[in-house]
């Protein structure tokens, strides 16, 4: 059963979900965050203690508008990770949260023992033009096919529960996009390659074969820049958010690497 608690970060409430027993693994959600618990986390929690804190501005947390630059966001991420769990842990970060996981890993090499990144933003490769995440047609139909090989899964994640206010649900989704844009606009490049020499942890870089947002070249540039051992692996029949498209396969890869 999923437990929920909240912690405070920089004066704002942050939701932390947890489920399962065993070695701790922290999951930072991808584009849009998590308005609901997802099957991938269930699979992972069968053998591990899964801890899922929200990042500022994503569903379950506020305070993104107090964070201006990457230093602010990194400090907030470190604060949230410290509040979410003690001791060393494995960190999984998807999509837009991956750049923050990389900054945290560069700063806390002992606590963050291993790193798995899924479709990580943070590196721009001008030779490989990906679709611009931030220039999309307004309305609910644009994002599902952009983010998932199975668009109905993203749409289902954002299907409003009956007991939730419609305006607030819409605002939550819009706010999550804004939060990510706040540290990734305009090219999704944070300059991590300049600091990647401090990332010594073992790292698994995953990418859906149908990811239209993050080209493989970006993963290769990141792999070349980090100091530790790293491996790139592509997941078939998955788009950008592999955790939604292939929960079983992804859980298997995580368990294998951790």
């Amino acid at each position: 059963m999923t437990g929920e608690r909240s912690l405070r970060c920089n004066g704002a409430e942050v939701r932390v979900w947890a489920q399962g027993d065993g070695e701790p693994v922290v999951f930072l959600a991808g584009f849009g965050g998590l308005p609901k618990w997802i099957p991938f986390l269930d699979r992972l929690a069968e053998s591990r203690r899964v801890i899922v804190p929200s990042l500022p501005g994503f569903p379950g947390a506020e305070g993104h508008d107090r964070l201006d630059d990457l230093s602010d966001w990194t400090a907030a991420t470190l604060e949230i990770l410290e509040g979410a769990t003690e001791g060393p842990f494995g960190l999984i970060a998807s999509s837009v949260s991956a750049p923050l996981a990389l900054e945290a890993a560069a700063m806390q090499r002992r606590r963050i023992a291993k790193l798995i990144l899924i479709g990580p933003f943070g590196v721009h490769d001008e030779r490989r033009h990906a679709i611009d995440l931030w220039a999309q047609r307004p309305g609910p139909k644009s994002y599902p096919p952009l983010l998932c090989a199975h668009p109905e899964r993203y749409a289902a994640l954002w299907q409003k529960p009956d007991d939730v206010d419609e305006i607030e649900w819409q605002v939550m989704e819009i706010r999550a996009r804004e939060a990510a844009a706040r540290y990734l606009w305009p090219l999704n490049d944070t300059g991590i390659l300049k600091r990647a020499y401090r990332i010594t942890q073992p790292m698994l870089l995953l990418r859906g074969t149908e990811d239209r947002l993050v080209p493989r070249a970006c993963l290769e540039r990141l792999q070349a820049a980090v100091a530790g051992e790293s491996l790139i692996q592509e997941v078939p029949e998955a788009g950008h958010l592999v955790e939604l498209d292939q929960p079983e396969t992804l859980a298997g890869l995580v368990n294998q690497f951790f």
Partner: protein, 421 residues
């Protein structure tokens, strides 16, 4: 009331099949479509038209700022305004305006506006737009989530820089300057009138009321849609205890005047269809960057019946949430009220009704639009100045206009050297 002649400076030679073969007139418009030699001719004709309008008797002439835009060839309105400052005598120079968050440091705006006010002898109206999503977030790469915070901080810095009596340090959230000392300072004291172009945001209405600035609704979609927005503005002024002085507000309207109604129908069809068909062909991908619209405005728009109706109407007119792309045929354009055309008497009657209904004392007129020729622009301008303007300029004479430039006395001003024609 005040009649201001507004130029967008559209590139007038976009191809006939532009809508079919190109995604957007803005942000990623094909650079191969622009011939600089033709732009040379257009710029000079456009500036001639602005000068002509000033000579014809318009109260003010306006230019504005756009980037990577096929319908607005003015990345730097201040360059245009500087030439107008020298070549016009009495008309207000309405720079509408400088998108504050795009200037680094923002005191550049304080400096250049002060220069314009000095050169023109105190005729500047200082427009401070936030800027469109296409200009700010996409063409200039500014973070839309921080745009308004940057805008407000830049505004505070500029206003302080214009009035400070000694050099000061500015330690802002986004701008740090050890020495702020703007030279020159504006002629107008305490500062030139400040006008704020906006798109219907409640925060902007409140901000204008608080600081006693003019709010200008610069829509390309005419008075029918504008009515709902301006009603919302005046209702908000009522709530804030402000009077309904029409000079608090400006409104943009496309107008075409001719000797007969039939002639107006014939003359202005092509430029209007060019503008609404090609110039407003903006990719919907560039309309809603994340964070550009505040949560308060999103909530208010959904909750407010008035605004919701306006959104519905706008959505209907733009066929799906894009920037333009609604009415594109002449009949649709006229039906929707985007363009007012007719004889001078017809236009005057319609504009009197529009200004009275919307309660706007500053009418910003697009008398050149789309690919309208230089000659037709002058014809339209002349007819308006001679036969429309006199019929409506007396409107709102019972109100005090506290938001108009206060130039130096004529005897104190130095006339530019005359250049042989």
């Amino acid at each position: 009331m005040k009649n201001l002649w507004f130029h967008l400076m559209p590139y007038k030679e976009l191809p006939d099949d532009f809508r079919d073969r190109h995604e957007s007139v803005w942000v990623d418009i094909d650079p191969g479509l622009l011939d600089p030699n033709r732009a040379h001719v257009m710029y000079n004709e456009f500036m001639d038209e602005l000068e002509y309008a000033a000579e014809a008797g318009f109260d003010g002439i306006c230019c504005n700022e756009h980037h990577a835009n096929g319908y607005g060839l003015m990345p730097s309105p201040n360059l245009i305004a500087s030439t107008l400052a020298r070549r016009t005598e009495d008309a207000a120079l309405c720079v509408m305006g400088n998108s504050l968050a795009l200037y680094n440091p923002p005191i550049r705006v304080a400096e250049e506006f002060a220069m314009l006010d000095c050169i023109s002898g105190g005729r500047l109206i200082a427009g401070f737009p936030v800027g469109s999503p296409m200009d700010t977030a996409y063409a200039y790469g500014q973070n839309p989530s921080k745009l308004r915070e940057r805008y407000y901080e830049a505004h505070d810095l500029i206003m302080r820089a214009w009035s400070a009596e000694e050099t000061f340090a500015f330690n802002g959230r986004f701008n740090q300057l050890r020495y702020v000392n703007v030279w020159p300072r504006p002629v107008q004291k305490p500062h030139p009138p400040v006008w704020i172009p906006g798109g219907g945001s409640i925060e902007t209405w409140r901000w204008c009321a608080e600081l006693d600035y003019v709010y200008c609704y610069l829509s390309y979609f005419g008075y029918k849609l504008g009515l709902r927005t301006m009603q919302g503005f005046w209702e908000e002024m009522d709530k804030l205890g402000k009077d309904r002085n029409p000079y608090r507000a400006g409104f943009l309207q496309f107008v075409g005047v001719a000797e007969t109604h039939e002639e107006a129908l014939r003359l202005y069809k092509e430029p209007a269809e060019y503008f609404y068909g090609r110039c407003l062909h903006v990719s919907p991908n560039y309309v809603q960057p994340p964070g550009y619209t505040t949560e308060a405005t999103i909530r208010a728009r959904v909750q407010s019946q008035v605004a919701a109706a306006a959104m519905k109407e706008r959505s209907k007119q733009t066929k799906g949430g894009g920037f333009g792309g609604g009415a594109t045929t002449w009949e649709e354009i006229l039906e929707a009220g985007y363009v007012i055309i007719g004889t001078p008497d017809e236009v005057a009657e319609r504009l009197r009704e529009v200004c009275t209904t919307l309660n706007v004392g500053n009418l910003m007129l697009l008398l050149q639009f789309g690919n309208m020729s230089h000659d037709l622009t002058k014809y339209n301008t002349q007819l308006y100045a001679e036969q429309v303007l006199p019929q409506i300029s007396g409107l709102f004479s019972e109100w005090e206009n506290r938001w108009w430039p206060q130039p130096m006395a004529g005897a104190e001003r130095r006339a530019p050297r005359q250049v042989a024609a």
